[in-house]
Amino acid sequence: MAEIRLENVQKYFGAVHVIREVSLTVKDREFCVLLGPSGCGKTTTLRAIAGLEEVSEGRILINGKPVQNLHASDRDIAFVFQLYALYPHLTVFENLAFPLRATRIPDAEVRKSVTSVAESIGITHLLKLRPGALSGGDMQRVAIGRALVRRPKALLMDEPIGALDAKLREQMRTELKRLHLENGSTSIYVTHDQVEAMSLADTVVVMHDGVLQQVGSPSDVYLRPANLFVAQFIGSPVMNIADAQLRDEAGKASVLVHGAAFEVPREVLAAVSSRQVKDMALGIRPEGVLISHEETAGARSVSVHLIQPYGPFDIVDLNVGSQTLRARTPSGFASGKGQQVWARLDTTQAHFFDKSSGVSLGLRLG
């Protein structure tokens, strides 16, 4: 078990700067998920930790010892690949035993370790088969088993369940979580799927263009996105982002969204003016747009533009000013296009960003 630290890690592929000054600490026994769109540098970061990619600058420390110049084989880390990378010419048993055979471990002990890992991931009945005969889910179980069998300092996983179908993914997610709780190994997990990230992680690390955007617990990145990128990347359906101007009229503060004014508490005015922001963007998740059939305080009348049923809820696009605003409603709340409803913003769920830098103003209301 180990703590992993990255200090100012930089990586260039030729002239392309793929990892930019990444510093990160993954605590012992922590499950850390690197999340980001494809090409954001998350896989390269993971491969650098494993030693499959050399870093151009910076240090990687495992338990305080710099390892950036060590070979992958000397780092005592296990890696699970997206496409399993099980050796087709070996049986499942030999695949699981392969990492153990790198060191001179007596055969009886190899057998014992393999059997116990196979039991914990539920593949004892498959030990004699070759990988070609397994289903995708079983192949990934074997791949994870192969990573665990050696009891490595850390477990690195590169989109390990990304190639599976949706149903199996959900099942494997639960299994991964259980395995982590049982083994407690320090884990770093790369994915572009925010649901995986949110459900598995102790810490979510959001990356974009080789830069760390935010490091925090799943609820942190969801409830307190550090910038516009995180705000839009995390959450489905996507957060509403709109240019916003604050107004102070007749003792009432309001925010102009797409040219339509919504009432906000007066304290916003003071808070924003103290930051001296030139242009501001307002972010609000669909569940922060509250609609009702009757007029309520601070609500304005809007018309329904489009309804997308999701099952447990509907996402309704509302015509607000010149654009639309997504709202989350109970299923069947809105009857159809053109219907008039009353909408207001739940300011406790509103996020304010500096539009030019994208950084959150860190305003929390209510």
């Binding site: 494993a50 030693g51 499959l52 070979h71 992958a72 084989s73 780092r75 005592d76 880390i77 296990a78 890696f79 690949f81 496409l83 990378a85 050796y87 087709p88 010419h89 392969f98 990492p99 790198a102 060191t103 192969r146 050696r150 690195l156």
Partner: protein, 318 residues
């Protein structure tokens, strides 16, 4: 396989089958001739039309393995006291040469055959080994000017080898590699290695890097990963490459003819040299050729599963 339904498709199918049968006849006829002639009595070997039904004999093989000389006009053969296998070759004015003590001498064929085996197997092993390692390097590491190097390697095949035969002969004579096994092995390895590099690169490119990377993080060195993972995974490619290299080395005629005469001579230049000694005995040549075909046939047969997979390699997405 698609079900054949329409008339046009059925007709097309028959035409295709017909063409294949025709091609088979064209390709197999010489082999049938070799096989049949190797067991024919000498007087039936060159009849027109060819004799198809005959009592098979082993005399061609006995002649092949024994040294024969032409009888001088006043020489007589003690036909009565000769053993059976000598008697059957005492035809057409030939006899088996014997020393003064009555020993039969082995012909040059077995040692030429052995030379062929030594040279072909060693050069195939070397070419495939060097080709595999080189291809692995090109496939897995960033090599400066990779495309140029690969083109250079390929360019060694662009010249018909015979063009360099005379300079090679002079060089070999100067360094004493003439008529040596080593000389031929070097020559054939050089022919085949470029081919082996290109073929193996295709196969190794198809092996996902993740296999080795998995081995690397699991505590193996790059070399161990190469031997434990890449080689078994590349077995198909290695088999296919080995068969092609073996056939090339085994069948090579021109250089073997020029560079060797006795000690290291291989079977291809030896077999036709028998045409020149006395009247051409086609049955002996056919028996020599028939035996010569066997090793390639056996080698290819043993590796047939790998070869079939190798042929369709890359055509099927795994």
């Amino acid at each position: 396989m698609a079900t054949v339904t329409s008339y046009g498709q059925r007709l097309g199918n028959r035409v295709a089958v017909g063409m294949i049968i025709l091609a088979l006849i064209v390709f197999l006829a010489p082999i049938a001739w070799i096989g049949a002639t190797a067991f024919k009595p000498r007087n039936l070997a060159t009849t027109v039309p060819p004799t198809i039904f005959f009592a098979p004999e082993v005399s061609p093989f006995v002649k092949l393995f024994t040294k024969r000389v032409q009888l001088k006009p006043n020489e007589k053969v003690d036909y009565e006291s000769a053993p059976w296998w000598e008697r059957i070759v005492l035809d057409g004015g030939e006899r088996i040469s014997r020393t003064g003590r009555g020993e039969v001498q082995l012909s040059g064929y077995p040692s030429r055959f052995l030379n062929s085996l030594i040279v072909a197997i060693t050069s195939t092993f070397l070419a495939v080994a060097m080709g595999t390692i080189t291809a692995y390097g090109f496939s897995r590491f960033k090599v400066k000017g990779e495309a140029d190097w690969l083109f250079f390697i390929l360019s060694t095949r662009m010249l018909p080898p015979v063009v360099v035969a005379i300079p090679m002969f002079l060089m070999y004579r100067a360094v004493g590699l003439n008529d040596t096994h080593l000389g031929l092995i070097i020559l054939y390895t050089a022919f085949n290695v470029s081919f082996a590099v290109w073929l193996m690169k295709g196969f190794i490119d198809e092996i996902p890097r993740e296999y080795e990377e998995a081995a690397l993080v699991d505590g193996y060195t790059r070399m161990e990963a190469f031997f434990k993972i890449v080689l078994p995974e590349a077995a198909t490619g290695i088999a296919a490459t080995a068969v092609f290299c073996f056939i090339t080395a085994w069948n090579e005629y021109a250089f073997a003819l020029i560079m060797t005469n006795r000690r290291a001579q291989t079977a291809p230049p030896f077999i036709p040299s028998q045409v020149g000694s006395g009247l051409p005995d086609w049955t002996v040549i056919a028996s020599g050729t028939a035996l010569f075909l066997l090793p390639v046939a056996i080698f290819t047969f043993l590796l047939r599963n790998h070869l079939l997979r190798g042929m369709s390699f890359g055509a099927i997405r795994k």
